[in-house]
């Protein structure tokens, strides 16, 4: 009996020390973690919005959970483009968050996946924008960083009219072809993009009127 109490006490003490250490690190990294998240969002927004963008404002609209819109304006405060953020939980690794840049006429500027937990090497083919640099060009100093690296799947959306897309089917305007080995991830991205497009089409006037 005495033994059991001793074992419990030791285990409890170890857990307590561990918890204390975590509380300390959590408090110390709270602000840097939030900053890192905000920087990541700002960088992704910059990628899907036009280069003339001067200021980006988050819009307050009565939308479903996981949906938000950002309005980009130029130096004189005129609205330039809109970025919609939408999430879905149907990814292979759970949540997938996309950012969709939309032009004034409702065409898609570009799609970015800002958060996901897809399998590296498989699902990430449908989510990651990656620039392939040549080793020799980098050594020679000739390689330039692209503002918007390509992705075979995400680039299909660019220039399309915001609507309801269908993976591998539907009419010519709706059809989006997936990537083999990443079907679930493609579907998740598509679902999130569709949510954003749907919300955009329903709230178009409110979004552009917001200043």
């Amino acid at each position: 009996m005495k033994d059991i109490i001793r074992l419990c006490l030791v285990l409890a003490a170890v857990c307590f020390c561990g918890a204390a250490a975590l509380v300390y690190v959590n408090a110390k990294t709270l602000i840097p973690r939030q900053q890192a998240q905000q920087t990541a969002l700002a960088e992704s927004l910059f990628m899907v919005l036009p280069p003339e963008t001067n200021a980006v404002n988050a819009l307050e609209l009565p939308l479903d959970k996981g949906l938000s819109f950002f309005l980009a304006s130029d130096e004189e405060g005129r609205p330039l483009a809109v970025a919609g953020q939408g999430s879905t939980n149907t990814g292979f690794g759970g949540e997938v968050v996309v950012l969709v840049g939309l032009e004034r006429d409702g065409r898609i500027r570009g799609v970015m996946v800002s958060k996901h937990s897809e399998t590296p090497g498989l699902g990430t083919k449908a989510t990651d924008r990656k620039q392939v640099k040549s080793l020799w060009k980098v050594l020679a100093g000739k390689e330039k960083d692209l503002d918007f690296p390509p992705n075979d799947y995400l680039d299909i959306y660019s220039g399309r009219q915001a609507g309801s897309f269908v993976l591998g089917g539907g009419s010519a305007e709706q059809r989006i072809d997936g990537i083999s080995g990443a079907t679930t991830s493609c579907q998740a991205v598509l679902a999130a993009v569709n949510r954003v497009c749907d919300a955009y089409n329903k709230n178009r006037d409110a979004i552009w009127a917001a200043q």
Binding site: L7, A36, D128
Partner: protein, 222 residues
């Protein structure tokens, strides 16, 4: 001198991946590119060093019967710290690719294996070097695998293209490719050891991967 020995053994003689055959899950999963391998290796090394030192410090206080739960708690604490530090300071793209594998370090056999086989019997100073050596050995093995797989699968190394018109050998990017490349690595490792044994005039007996013959840990002796 002894600390150097403890550090160096993890690199080659007792390399966790290629000799001890520990931590196969992250090895196969994250070695799809050299960059992922480096990130995963660095995170694992941090956890290994931290948990080795902490476990070595409490080794005389913790009773034998509850040592495994205590080790797991300590390892989990360090993994959570790594997760928070990475979310705060690591480049976002690394976070995105490694995100789901970081929590899995808790159950990485290398970390628990070193805790049980080394840290629970040696001083914190030696445990630190053991953890560091094992971590670096793990990182190097993972990077070697990752570089080969990335080169064959995409024609790049560290995301830098070597040849402009490389026909990608896609299989290497998938799980079966990891098994193939690891198999060749292990065969090469055995070949080197057989040759060395022959030069020294001994006969080489390949290690048997049977839990009952392994002296690495004492998990089976309770």
């Amino acid at each position: 001198m002894s600390a150097t020995k403890e550090f160096l053994k993890g690199l080659w003689k007792e390399n966790p991946v290629l000799v001890l055959m520990l931590g196969m899950c992250p090895t196969l999963a994250v070695s799809s590119s050299a960059k992922n391998a480096l990130g995963m290796g660095a995170a694992t090394t941090f956890v290994l060093v931290g948990s080795n030192v902490a476990i070595s410090l409490v080794r005389k206080v913790v009773p034998d019967k509850v040592r495994i739960p205590c080790y797991i708690v300590i390892i989990a604490v360090f993994v959570t710290i790594v997760e928070m530090l990475m979310a705060a300071y690591a480049p976002p793209e690394l976070n995105v690719t490694l995100g789901i594998y970081i929590p899995l370090i808790v159950v990485n056999c290398i970390v628990l294996g070193r805790a049980e086989a080394f840290a629970s019997k040696n001083s914190p100073w030696l445990s630190l070097f053991d953890g560091l050596g094992m971590g670096v050995g793990f990182t190097l093995a993972l990077m070697a695998l990752g570089a080969v797989r990335e080169f064959l699968g995409a024609g790049t190394i560290f995301e830098l293209q070597l040849f402009p018109k490389w026909e990608p050998f896609l299989l290497m990017q998938y799980a079966p490719g990891a098994f193939f490349v690891l198999g060749f690595f292990l065969a090469g490792m055995n070949m080197l050891r057989i040759r060395r044994a022959r030069l020294e005039g001994k006969t080489y007996t390949p290690p048997s991967f049977d839990c009952s013959q392994c002296n690495l840990c004492e998990l089976g002796k309770d």
